[in-house]
Symmetry: C2
Subunit: 248 residues, 2 copies
């Protein structure tokens, strides 16, 4: 089915099923190949990349809609999900579908509730749905141009992550169960958008007493196998409750 036909067919159903004017956009972060990555996709008739999103059923809690949208796209519910901001400017979304008929669902004014998600990379199986021509992880550096105000939504998500780094279990949800100190540092550098001094970072993170050094080390590299750590969940949670002190 060509994309125009698909939109027209789906529009009738969408007007029936979803709350008009309201959408959800998801900024899904993951840590992969030593860099902080975000899930982006391309709609079939669009040149620009965008964030995955969806709509809220008339019979559904907004938070449940976000979980559903995320599951449809990533194949898992096992993801830390948090609402961070609602984007409500006039003309933020209308233009992207201007070549279509006014009755098309997607051509409305949408006010979009932003959720960020933290996905442990191995849990996710990306799903390319019938509306998209591409879906992929992309390093948060050198992102391609985004459609609508999706760049603004991404930026706000990253700023929120930065502000919440000392109060929310962000590292815990992005890293695999066992990780090395350089990986943890890379993650913090990605979120903070700056390079950190290795010695200072190690000293600080160890001083928090939230990590457990494991008996094993990572196999396989050419160099000396690096030590592996995991979060001491109990200590980590109680430290976050108080807030990790200090700047990075």
């Amino acid at each position: 089915m060509d994309f125009k036909e698909l939109l027209e067919k789906q529009s009738a159903e969408s007007w029936e099923k979803y709350i008009p004017t309201l959408s959800i956009d998801c900024v899904i972060f993951s840590f992969y190949e030593n860099s902080l990555q975000v899930l982006i996709l391309k709609m079939r008739d669009q040149d620009l990349w965008g964030l995955p999103g969806g709509y809220v059923k008339k019979t559904e809690n907004v938070d449940d809609a976000a979980v559903r949208i995320l599951k449809d796209r990533t194949g898992t519910e096992n993801i830390y999900l948090q609402q961070f901001y609602t984007f409500g400017n006039l003309n933020r979304s209308e233009k992207a579908f201007e070549q279509y008929h006014d009755t098309i669902w997607n051509k409305q004014r949408f006010i979009s509730i932003g959720y960020y998600a933290l996905a442990e990379h191995s849990q996710v199986k990306l799903v390319l749905d019938e509306y998209s021509s591409a879906v992929q992880w992309h390093s948060i550096e050198n992102l391609p141009e985004f459609m609508m105000d999706h760049r603004k939504i991404f930026d706000k998500a990253l700023t929120t992550l930065r502000e919440q780094l000392n109060n929310h279990p962000i590292g815990y949800n992005l890293l695999p169960e066992k990780f090395t100190m350089p990986e943890l540092q890379k993650l913090y550098e990605g979120i903070l958008g700056k390079r950190l001094n290795r010695g200072n970072f190690y000293r600080k993170i160890l001083r928090y007493d939230i990590l457990t050094k494991l008996e094993e080390s990572r196999k396989g590299g050419a160099h000396k196998a690096p030590d592996l750590y995991s979060f001491d969940v109990e200590k980590y949670n109680s430290a976050l409750k108080e807030g990790l002190k200090g700047n990075w």
Copy 2:
């Protein structure tokens, strides 16, 4: 006009003018008589108190709607305003108007965008509109029972304030230009929901180097006139950008 007639008259206009299903609720804080206060009101047909709110015009940015609603209620635009969360559970609002006809605007499912506002007390002139029977400031301690999920909205606003205390100009916007150290401490205690040690608080806040001690002191009390301070706006803003370090 009785309240039912008023709702019916306004409903026709509201369906025309506003985006359905979407509302705004405002948690307006102020610092007054040595305590952190919040603006609450009572709708004419309701027994419980609630937060001031309103709707978004079809031709209006969401943020502009929040500014308009706040101005209508407080008589001023000169208020620090920030969106903090969107509340979207099913049945969060519908029950409050169940005795009215289904076509009444207020009886819809509403998804409500929460804004918190920080109002310098002397700037505000409370406005009692035709829908309300009472509007007042109330200390955040011992709040009365709220309608709908307004208590949850208030709690989330206060938690947000707490998390943002080190990064946002919260003190600056709640206090008058000149204030005493005990007033600043009371404000912090209100936001943090706990008593602070006087000596530690003074030492910490002075160490940030964000206050200017004024040449004058407060007149009129029975005791020794307390010193007055104001924020050094430049230093304060640059300290907030980095984030005030440490816990209270």
